[in-house]
């Protein structure tokens, strides 16, 4: 069951369907499932949705939904070729047929144009064993929200069956670098669906772009750009593309991260001579210096309650993760295993961390139970960096190297499910997983 290498048909309908997706498609990321992990996967049949003649060009919703569920590692979608029938309506469903195939859940649906320029997709999820309807719902996407609609249906299915909110209808941003360190180098800040599809460019520069990070409302990203010849922290709206420069101090301007309420940004500045953590209030742009130490303090991140800042510091001789209480500036060291622990992110429960951990000279992404001091290495790749959590905390995306190229990879929080998102275009680095993007409405 290990190393089960299987390429899920990278749904390549780009180009053919101009109207179906945003124009100016960049090179999307492919998905390759490396390790599905779980022995007991829920068997689900996602029957091809009824898509009328006016929807002929649209990517099949069922394919996108199946691929989403398969990537979670918790589902084993039935191959469409093995289905005995393709019901699109409750009346056409014969549960006995599906029981014979060992299917536990069945998803059917229908998509149609709603006459107002948009579409309506309604769908039903059945529990085959109990011959019971679990979910019946509808979603109304516009043409460019077609894939989001599929992801949203996958979210709903995932949540109904596992009890955990799905994170398929989310985005990732990342930095795509081409011809790095050459005179014709380009750096692109890209945004794509969480499955790597529909990549598009947010910002293009011939100077490096670093550390993209999401605002909690999912509307803005902050990042470091060297476009002026030196690092500056920029803020950009992902819908309008409007950009704004937040800082450009002498020296380091790096690692911006939004506070959970979105009102502040923690960052690293060396304006006073040494890299220290600062917090900027977005309302009045006032800066507050948080750390004060002659060693390097960097890579801040917030605890989910916004009351603590985690950061990496070598004040103890080696890079380790520290936690600072914003109320009284009390600093506490959190990591003790190994001589390199950095770039921590805290899970929503406030009790666990993920971070970059060096073990036997190799950089991995690790998970830690703070209370029990229990460290587990999640990744089997090397040179792993920049872990970023999915909003539901079930998986994390990180950057790693494969055949000398930077690629993105995803691993579940127990290390069992792994997949990769390589890019054919260039080196991809520094991914950041978006918060929940909000559901599409029903009309």
């Amino acid at each position: 069951m290990k190393q089960l290498l299987r390429t899920l048909a990278p749904i390549l309908v780009v180009g053919l369907l101009g109207g179906w997706m945003l124009a100016a498609q960049a090179e999307s990321l492919d998905t390759i499932i490396i390790d599905k992990g779980y022995d007991k996967q829920t068997k689900i049949a996602v029957v091809p949705f009824l898509q009328g003649a006016d929807l002929n060009g649209a990517p099949p919703l069922a394919d996108i939904i199946s691929a989403d569920l398969a990537r979670s590692g918790q589902f084993a979608p039935l191959e469409q070729g093995n289905m005995l029938s393709y019901p699109t309506d409750r009346k056409q469903v014969f549960f006995r047929d599906w029981r014979i195939l060992g299917v536990e859940y069945l998803l059917i649906g229908r998509g149609r144009a709603n006459g107002r320029g948009g579409f309506t997709v309604d769908y039903q999820l059945f529990d085959v064993f109990n011959e019971r309807e679990v979910v019946a719902a509808a979603v109304s996407p516009s043409a460019d929200q077609w894939r989001s609609a599929a992801h949203q249906i996958a979210d709903k299915v995932y949540e109904s069956i596992t009890g955990i909110r799905g994170a398929f209808n989310t985005k990732i941003v990342y930095v795509l670098g081409e011809n790095a360190a050459k005179s014709n180098a380009t750096y692109a800040l890209e945004i794509a669906d969480a499955d790597g599809a529909q990549a598009r460019n947010l910002f293009l520069s011939d100077q490096p772009i670093m550390s993209p990070t999401w605002a909690p409302d999912g509307q803005q990203v902050a990042y470091v750009s060297f476009e002026t010849g030196r690092p500056a922290i920029m803020l950009q709206n992902i819908k309008t593309g409007a950009r704004e420069q937040l800082t450009a101090f002498k020296g380091i301007n790096s690692s911006p991260v939004f506070s959970p309420d979105g009102k502040q940004i923690a960052m690293v500045l060396s304006r006073d001579g040494n890299p220290e953590i600062y917090v900027m209030s977005l309302a009045d742009r006032r800066l507050r210096r948080i750390t004060r130490h002659h060693s390097i303090d960097t890579e801040p991140s917030w605890s989910p309650d916004g009351k603590h800042l985690l950061f990496t510091s070598d004040r103890g001789g080696k890079p380790q993760i520290y936690q600072l209480d914003m109320a009284n500036n009390f600093v506490e060291r959190l990591t003790f295993e190994g001589d390199y622990n950095a770039r921590a992110r805290m899970l929503e429960d406030g009790k666990h961390l993920i971070f970059v951990h060096r073990r036997n000279g190799v950089f991995h992404i690790a998970w830690m139970d703070i209370e029990r001091d229990d460290v587990r290495v999640l990744t089997s790749t090397s040179l792993d960096e920049s872990p970023s959590l999915a909003p539901n905390g079930s998986m994390l995306i990180y950057a790693t190297q494969s055949q000398g190229k930077g690629i993105l990879a995803v691993v579940s929080m127990d290390g069992r499910v792994k997949y990769r998102l390589p890019s054919s275009a260039g080196d991809v680095r520094e991914p950041a997983w978006s918060p929940y993007m909000g559901d599409l409405g029903t009309r």
């Binding site: 290990k2 022995d39 064993f129 010849g229 030196r230 690092p231 800082t247 450009a248 101090f249 002498k250 020296g251 380091i252 790096s254 690293v268 060396s270 304006r271 001579g273 890299p275 600062y278 742009r285 006032r286 800066l287 507050r288 210096r289 948080i290 750390t291 004060r292 130490h293 002659h294 060693s295 390097i296 960097t298 890579e299 990496t312 070598d314 004040r315 103890g316 001789g317 080696k318 890079p319 380790q320 500036n329 009390f330 600093v331 060291r333 003790f336 950095a342 770039r343 950089f363 139970d369 029990r372 001091d373 229990d374 040179l383 960096e385 929080m413 127990d414």
Partner: protein, 303 residues
């Protein structure tokens, strides 16, 4: 390989360079108001040293002082790291000591309780109610004439209920070197299973059972062998192992689970009647156990 710290340092260098040539624009940007928070660590002033240079201190002397300062800073950093680690170890040790004491206390109470209930005369290996209702984890109980204290696992797995590490048997307090070896063999086998090396794990469990006939881990070993064969879809062998548990260790904490699994295996093999027979047996004999709940659900699904 570009690592954060290297990058950071490179940026400092870059920043200083660029900063020098663009000092005008830097001033303009630096007009943003800054509030200083009251930090705990005292500020180390490097800059003031530069001022008195004109006041008579030689450059050589100055650079020597600077070198000393750097050495001191590094030294303090290393010492700080050491203190942090030792403070951490100390608090760990205190926690461990406390939990060891609580564990000992529990065992003592268990012994006292058993002595009372059996009149202090015979140590009959009777099945205690706690053992039946709470398989695997919980109160101390007598098994094979020995005190058996299951310790809730220190494993922090998200699936604590089914994690094999969560209910490892702990041998009696008077364990010698042989017991330690046996325990190691058992935990190695468990480790292999957790690492999903099922074949090696099967070998290891089989070796354990052969090497330590009558050993205190054998009940568990047979149970996990059953689970391993199930994972490999070898139903017949799986059933054999589960039957070993209930035949050889009728008072074992894993009996309800083994009964349930036998039911499952029979169902997988298509023998519905036998399956129900075993599932009902768990529900009847160990009504309050987790396995009974699972059996009830499974029986319902089978119908």
């Amino acid at each position: 390989m570009i690592r954060i710290f290297n990058t950071a340092l490179r940026h400092v260098a870059l920043g200083t360079l660029v900063g020098a040539s663009f000092s005008l624009s830097a001033c303009a940007v630096a007009a943003v108001p800054v509030e200083e928070s009251t930090g705990r660590g005292a500020a180390t002033a490097v800059q003031p040293l530069a001022q008195p240079a004109s006041g008579g201190v030689s450059t050589a002397r100055l650079s020597e002082l600077y070198f000393q300062l750097q050495t001191l800073q590094q030294e303090v950093q290393d010492l700080r790291g050491l203190v942090e680690e030792q403070a951490h170890q100390l608090s760990r040790l205190r926690k461990d000591q406390k939990s060891q004491y609580l564990d000992l206390d529990r065992r003592m109470q268990g012994v006292a309780g058993v002595a009372r209930s059996s009149g202090g005369a015979t140590r009959a290996p009777a099945r205690t109610p706690t053992q039946a209702t709470n398989p695997g984890v919980g109160q101390p109980a007598l098994r094979d004439g020995e005190l058996y204290v299951p310790v809730p696992g220190s494993d922090s797995g998200s699936n604590a209920g089914t994690d094999p590490g969560a209910n490892n048997p702990q041998p009696a307090a008077n364990s010698g070197a042989a017991d330690a070896k046996e325990r190691k063999a058992y935990s190695d086998a468990i480790g292999l299973m957790k690492a999903r090396q099922f074949d090696q794990s099967i070998l290891a469990f089989n070796r354990l059972v052969v090497d330590y006939p009558g050993g205190s881990y054998n009940g568990h070993a047979f149970y996990w062998l059953g689970e391993l064969y199930l994972a490999k879809s070898n139903d017949a062998k799986a059933r054999q192992q589960f039957v070993q548990v209930i035949d050889l260790y009728p008072n074992h904490a894993k009996v309800p689970d083994a009964l349930y699994k036998i039911g499952v295996v029979y169902h997988r093999q298509g023998d519905k009647d036998r399956a129900l027979q075993y599932l009902n047996r768990v529900r009847g004999e160990f009504a309050n156990s987790n396995a009974a709940k699972l059996a009830a659900d499974y029986a319902k699904e089978m119908q």
